[in-house]
Symmetry: C2
Subunit: 230 residues, 2 copies
DNA sequence: ACCTGAACACCGTTCAAGT
DNA sequence: ACCTGAACACCGTTCAAGT
C-alpha cells in the first residue's frame, strides 16, 4: 500500500489552477448562483480559489468591478433573437426586454448594481444594439430612440431590482405588508385619491403589468419628440 | 478652585439624552447629510449617541429599516404644493416629480434603497396621494393612474440612483469613461445602430432629459389602457 | 422594559515581503 | 510580474447579564 504513495513533494493535490481573471469571474458566477450575490466577496472568492484575498486584486480592481463582470456574464443568457415568424418590431422588442427582465429577476441584487454601475460589457452592448435596431425599424427618430433605449432598460432593470424573487427574504415581505397596511389605513379625509385607486394600487407586479409598462414607454417614446432633435 | 468642583457623582457631563426612535433617526439623518449613507451604521450611530450598538435594536429592527426611516424623513423636503397660478395638472405633476427627483439626487445611495425597500412612510404616502390626485384631475382612468404612479416614481427614483451627484466618487467616473470608450469602439459591422445613434446616446442626463422622460411616461400612461380595466 | 459588554462571524483593502 | 501573510479598520447582530 505504502509503495503506491507518491513522494510528498508531488502528492496529487487538486492541482490548484493558475489564477486568471476568467477563472475568478467564473467562480464568482458560480457562488452567486448557489448562494446569492451577498456571498460573492473577495474573501469567500479567495477561499474558493485556495488563495488569499489580496491575490485577487491583481485581476480585479475592487468588489464593484467584480460585480460588474458577473453581471455582464449573466447578460449572455438574454435571448436577443426573438425571431417569431411574422412578429412585428414591437412584439420582438417586448420579447427581448422581457427576456432581459426575467434574467435579472433571478438576481435582484445584481439588478440593483446594474442600475448604478452602468454595465458597458460586451453582452450589454449587444442588448443596446438590438433594442436600438428594433426602435429604428419601427421608424422612431434617432433622438427619441437614443434616449428611449435608456428608459426601457432602466424600467426593466428597476422592476427586476424591485420585485426580483431570488432572495425571497422575509424582510421584503414585511415591507410589503407594512405598505399594504399603510395604504389601507390611509384616511379618506387626508388621502382620498389613494382610497379611490385602492384595488389596482396594490395589485402585484405580474407579467401583464410588466408588459403594460413596456407598452407605456414605447407609446410614449413614439409620441414624445426630443427637444432639439437632430 | 477646587471648591467650585461638583461632587464626582454628579459632574456636569453633556447629560446624555434618553434614547428614543426619534433621536436615533434624527442622528442618522445628520450623519447622512455630513458623511453619506455609507456611514450611517449601527456602530457609528451608537458611538454618536454615546452607547453600544446593541442598544439601538430596542428601537430599530435592523439597518434596512433604519435607512427606510431616514428616507421618509428626507421625503419631507419634497415640494408637493407646486401651485403656480394657472398651471395645468401636467405642469404641476412634472414639478412635483422633479422636486422629488432633486431631493433624491443629493442622496443616490438612499435612492437605491428606496427602489428596493418600498417606503410606506407618511411622507411617501403624501407624495403618492398628490401624484394620483393630479393624474385623476387629468382624467386618467383609475387603472392607468394606479399603475402609472408607480412607473413615474420608479423612473424618478431610478434616475436619482443612477445619476445622483452627492458621492461624486471617481469610480462612477471610471465607469462612465469605460462605457463611453466601449460605445465609441463599437464596430460599424457588429453594432451599426449604436454608431447611428452615437451623439444622442451619450448625451448626459440633464434636466431636459429628465423632463422628457416624465413626458414620455405621462403620454404613455394616457394612451395605454390597462388590461381588464375596472 | 431598557440598556449594555462582549462576543461571533464576518467584511474590503493595503502593504511589505517574498518568489 | 505575480502572489502572499498579516494587518488595519471596520461591519451587523445576538445574547446573557445587569439595572
Amino acid at each position: 500500500m505504502a509503495a503506491t504513495r507518491e513522494p510528498i513533494s508531488r502528492r496529487e493535490r487538486p492541482a490548484k489552477p493558475a489564477l486568471t481573471r476568467r477563472g475568478i469571474v467564473d467562480t464568482a458566477v458560480r457562488i452567486m448562483r448557489s448562494d446569492g450575490l451577498d456571498k460573492v466577496t473577495m474573501r469567500r472568492l479567495a477561499q474558493e480559489l485556495d488563495t488569499g484575498p489580496a491575490s485577487l486584486y491583481v485581476y480585479v480592481a475592487n468588489t464593484a468591478e467584480l460585480h460588474g463582470a458577473v453581471l455582464d456574464a449573466l447578460l449572455g443568457e438574454v435571448d436577443l433573437a426573438a425571431e417569431e415568424a411574422g412578429a412585428g418590431w414591437r412584439e420582438q422588442l417586448v420579447q427581448v426586454l422581457t427576456s432581459y427582465t426575467f434574467v435579472l429577476f433571478e438576481h435582484p441584487r445584481l439588478a440593483r448594481s446594474a442600475l448604478v454601475a452602468h454595465p458597458g460589457g460586451e453582452n450589454y452592448l449587444n442588448l443596446v444594439e438590438r433594442v436600438l435596431g428594433l426602435l429604428s425599424r419601427g421608424g422612431v427618430p434617432v433622438g427619441q430612440a437614443a434616449w428611449g433605449v435608456d428608459t426601457l432598460l432602466q424600467y426593466a432593470t428597476a422592476t427586476a431590482a424591485e420585485h426580483g424573487t431570488r432572495e425571497q427574504d422575509p424582510a421584503a415581505q414585511d415591507d410589503w405588508d407594512a405598505l399594504t397596511r399603510a395604504v389601507h389605513d390611509a384616511d379618506e379625509a387626508t388621502h382620498p385619491a389613494i382610497r379611490a385607486h385602492l384595488p389596482a394600487l396594490l395589485a402585484g407586479p405580474d407579467e401583464s403589468r410588466l408588459t403594460w409598462g413596456f407598452d407605456v414607454l414605447i407609446n410614449g417614446i413614439i409620441h414624445t419628440p426630443a427637444p432639439l432633435e437632430g
